[in-house]
Symmetry: C2
Subunit: 323 residues, 2 copies
Amino acid sequence: MHILVIGAGGMVGQKLIARLSAGALPVTRLTRHDIVLPPPPPASSFPVETFVSDMSMPGEAEKLVALKPDLIFHLAAIVSGEAEADFEKGYRINLDGTRYLFEAIRKAGGGYKPKVVFTSSIAVFGAPFPDAIGDEFFTTPLTSYGTQKAICELLLNDYSRRGFFDGIALRFPTICVRPGKPNKAASGFFSGIIREPLSGQEAILPVGEDVRHWHASPRAAIDFLIQAAELDTAKLGNRRTLALPGVSCTVGEQIAALKRVAGEKVASLIRRQPDETIMKIVAGWPRNFDPKRAIALGFKAEKSFDDIIRVHIEDELGGKIPG
Amino acid sequence: MHILVIGAGGMVGQKLIARLSAGALPVTRLTRHDIVLPPPPPASSFPVETFVSDMSMPGEAEKLVALKPDLIFHLAAIVSGEAEADFEKGYRINLDGTRYLFEAIRKAGGGYKPKVVFTSSIAVFGAPFPDAIGDEFFTTPLTSYGTQKAICELLLNDYSRRGFFDGIALRFPTICVRPGKPNKAASGFFSGIIREPLSGQEAILPVGEDVRHWHASPRAAIDFLIQAAELDTAKLGNRRTLALPGVSCTVGEQIAALKRVAGEKVASLIRRQPDETIMKIVAGWPRNFDPKRAIALGFKAEKSFDDIIRVHIEDELGGKIPG
């Protein structure tokens, strides 16, 4: 199977490719795409090609689709903070880029009908919410990023219904603990307050401890993608967007978990520095879900935030807490 | 107030302009736009200009926005049947045309911030449904037309949230009884089985009598538009899309109402001729709503299908049944 990963250089893209290289899915050929050159891929039993271009420019998606990949993971996007700060860039990258890809597939002809796994986000929802958001709750995004993701979900559903490709959209929980440097996502602190202290560094907490949010680990995120790739989409009918399982907890509960897993001293590295802008954005975000469909289909995430921290220590810190 | 009506030549556009000419809203200037020349407007106390162009072509929306209308009614669309038959045309007219308009407003600058009233549709919903669709039910369109309307709703909400204009999107019930000739909408028969018999002509019924649907009269549609134009959108918060009140009834109940209002002989002009294609499309359509928000805001439709037939007789047939 020839797999194309769009957004191959991002955190999720790199982890996905590592998992593929370790034997997930019957890969015979891998094509990586990103807007800048990703780091070299890990060793693998299949050939890897890398393309660098701006898919939001007309004509670029066609070049990727001309390779006729059997399975496309479309992970590329600019994050919420950047899409909010730069209105035009957000719509160009997150909406037009995706639409160019879908159009290139539609126009490829010759019976070409790949599977397309698209990463959406819980940012398609906007407050006020019920206690737990059910699978049939409406999308009222409060960011341009969430709007762009909701639009791409609608397009994916329509293109799939029309038979142009076989799509599935996954509404990722906030991925926590993100490894590496902070990105421009307004959600960055949810990871920062765990990641930085575990590395002996101070972390800024810009919101109150009562803020509740919805999390899954990077490992769970890759599990979601692999399972979506293997899923028989006939089970989805014409509703090809899935909210995924996760852990609902408050920032206070995150900190309590950090204390349990890594001790008081580590947790003491979190510094409270309220940021009105971030507090306002986060106030509109989902807190909890009841993702019955995805659970019935077998999608799984961690059961507790303690587990999420342990996954980070295992996968990113070699199994132990530094210092 | 300078009002721009886009889609001025359509049934709703013409009736809206007639209502404006009769004194609804404090109009000082009216600009009509459509892709073909609309019939002459009725006499009015304000000047009327008419523009003919294809707003789905880049640059055309800018010419309209350059006139700086205070209020824009955006009614233009190709109907569901046509958007399903011609994928590219549907996206070009119903999505790109609307986006060009929104972009032209955003880029106009100089503090320009018009009110925009956009006609969406209950086609944003797709089966299976609850008995009555509530205001927070999710959009899973089963047609490209419904997809395009749902996307435009999301865009309108985001552009309004960002302060580019002051938008409101109205999910019209199926407008019944449509006057005039049938159009290409798959929903056309809901009107045809009333309109044609009332004019002494045979009408085709392509679906079973148990098909339930959601209706409001053309008169109610114009009431919705005028009220939306007058509504203080602060009451909508960031949820600027409203499902509207209507009458839920089966085709059998429509026919029974026709018999009550116009007699058995008129109703006998309905000829059953099942059409699998139309039956399949209609099976995915909403049947009933619980539009609490719109009702709380004061939007009103007819109370029964008998009333809907009477409105047609009053407004289109001079108050009496021909023949």
